[in-house]
């Protein structure tokens, strides 16, 4: 079977907000995906995921788009279609970094369970921004899971000195549990980015 050529990737640019995150930015268009991954019936420990994205000069990035995709407290990804915004536990989140004075994102969710042997609890992150020609994948692990993190198959393939770039720090803030996860595009603390390549790559 002759293979087709993939569609090349292009940047999300600076002006995605009125389509992809319209409600967050106050545009007159509804959103299917936002910063809330659960509803009040969702089982599990309520947590907030917050952080900022830094460029190579240490400036925070105010026009990035960040997506989260996670399993529920039992380690199950949602398999039923999402019919509306905040349709129970969706496990899917999406925010821009342009509506907070400090360029933070703030997701409301529950801590995911392990999806199986050799997998520490984690959240998949997909990142887009002006100045990035590709989607970038990374993974968030939890600071209070160091024992399971050290058993994680993917975590262990990452050079040891870079593993801490994937660990969100657990903090108590005004009675709620926040995990802080800053993303560094470049520099000493450059976040580990992942690639999901199937085949036929030139390496």
């Amino acid at each position: 079977m002759e293979k087709l050529r993939q569609t090349p990737s292009q940047t999300v640019g600076p002006f995605f907000a009125y389509s992809l995150t319209a409600e967050q930015y106050g545009y007159d268009y509804n959103s299917l995906i936002n910063g809330l991954l659960i509803n009040h019936d969702t089982e599990g420990e309520r947590i907030y995921i917050t952080g900022r994205i830094y460029d190579g000069k240490g400036q925070t990035i105010p026009d990035a788009l960040i997506e989260l995709w996670q399993a529920d407290a039992n380690g199950q990804y949602r398999s039923l279609p999402i019919h509306q915004k905040n349709d129970g536990f969706t496990g899917l989140g999406r925010l821009g970094t342009g509506t907070d004075v400090q360029d933070r994102f703030l997701f409301t969710t529950i801590k995911p369970g392990s999806i199986g042997d050799g997998q520490a609890p984690h959240i998949n992150i997909i990142l887009f921004m002006r100045g990035s020609l590709h989607r970038l994948y990374t993974r968030l692990y939890f600071s209070d899971e160091s024992a399971t993190n050290s058993q994680d198959e993917l975590f262990n393939t990452i050079p040891e000195e870079r593993r801490n770039t994937l660990i969100a720090q657990r903090k108590q803030n005004a009675g709620r549990i926040e995990y802080h996860f800053d993303i560094y595009m470049q520099g000493e603390k450059e976040t580990v980015f992942l690639m999901y390549i199937t085949n036929d790559v030139i390496s």
């Binding site: 079977m1 569609t7 292009q10 640019g13 907000a17 279609p81 993917l154 595009m185 999901y196």
Partner: protein, 236 residues
């Protein structure tokens, strides 16, 4: 690796994909990874992305000439943009969420941070979305977007384009791209378009389809999208 002059950040399919760092597009300089990306092992790649139900999509979400009308028709050339979303083996991917956004006919985005002083159109938002059907097809009605200036370098202009965001079936299927129009004289001056290897740029240019036009209503363009990798979901 230590001896290689060019550190390959990601062994992307450089046949068609742009590099992460493309210095003519200045914002890539401080915003692209400098360290090699870490490959995810085979067994972890098949993670499914969420699917959306038909009811998630509004009645006019696919028609940008209607979905933001206030007191009349949006201004500009009405067009239809249609195509298929497929895997690399040409198999249609159904139920894929396709979201689009674009400037209006004058080259103005409704985005609050936009500074280009072309007029806004009170009847045009420039955002739409739909799910692909059983044959992997989508079809939007919209207004042909105008070119607009940007700050990358002196007298920089973007060619006419529509932004696309696609959520396919697997995590590796996530794509954000831009669709261009045939014969645009700005192609050779636009570093975002030029970041794609020369022989693959045609993949981002829609085809004019006279046979798909709607007489006395709209011209038609075809833009097919091929996602990375093969689809693992069973086909009936």
């Amino acid at each position: 690796m230590e001896n290689s002059q060019l550190i390959e950040v990601e062994p992307i399919n450089f046949n068609v994909q742009p590099p992460h760092l493309y210095s003519e597009y200045k914002s890539t300089i401080l915003r692209s990874p400098t360290k090699p990306l870490i490959p995810v092992k085979e067994q972890l790649k098949d993670l499914s992305l969420p699917a959306f139900g038909d009811s998630a999509i509004g009645k006019w979400d696919h028609d940008l000439t209607k979905n933001a009308r206030k007191n009349g028709e949006p201004i500009g050339e009405r067009i239809k943009v249609s195509g298929k979303v497929m895997d690399e083996y040409g198999r249609p991917l159904r139920n894929v969420l396709v979201e689009i956004w674009q400037a209006n006919a004058a080259g103005r985005y409704i985005h609050k941070a936009e500074i280009h002083d072309a007029p806004l159109d009170p009847n045009f938002l420039g955002a739409g979305r739909m799910l692909t059907d059983r044959e992997g097809r989508y079809s939007f009605y919209t207004i042909k977007p105008g070119a607009y200036p940007w700050g990358n370098h002196f007298n920089a202009w973007r060619p006419n384009h529509i932004h696309f965001s696609v959520i396919g079936h697997q995590i590796g299927h996530r794509l954000v791209t831009q669709m261009y129009f045939p014969g645009d004289p700005l192609f050779e001056f636009d570093p975002i378009f030029q970041s794609v290897p020369k022989h693959a740029r045609e993949l981002l240019i829609a085809k004019f389809r006279m046979d798909w036009t709607e007489p006395e209503f709209a011209l038609a363009y075809e833009f097919n999208i091929v996602l990375n990798g093969k689809c693992q979901t069973p086909f009936e």
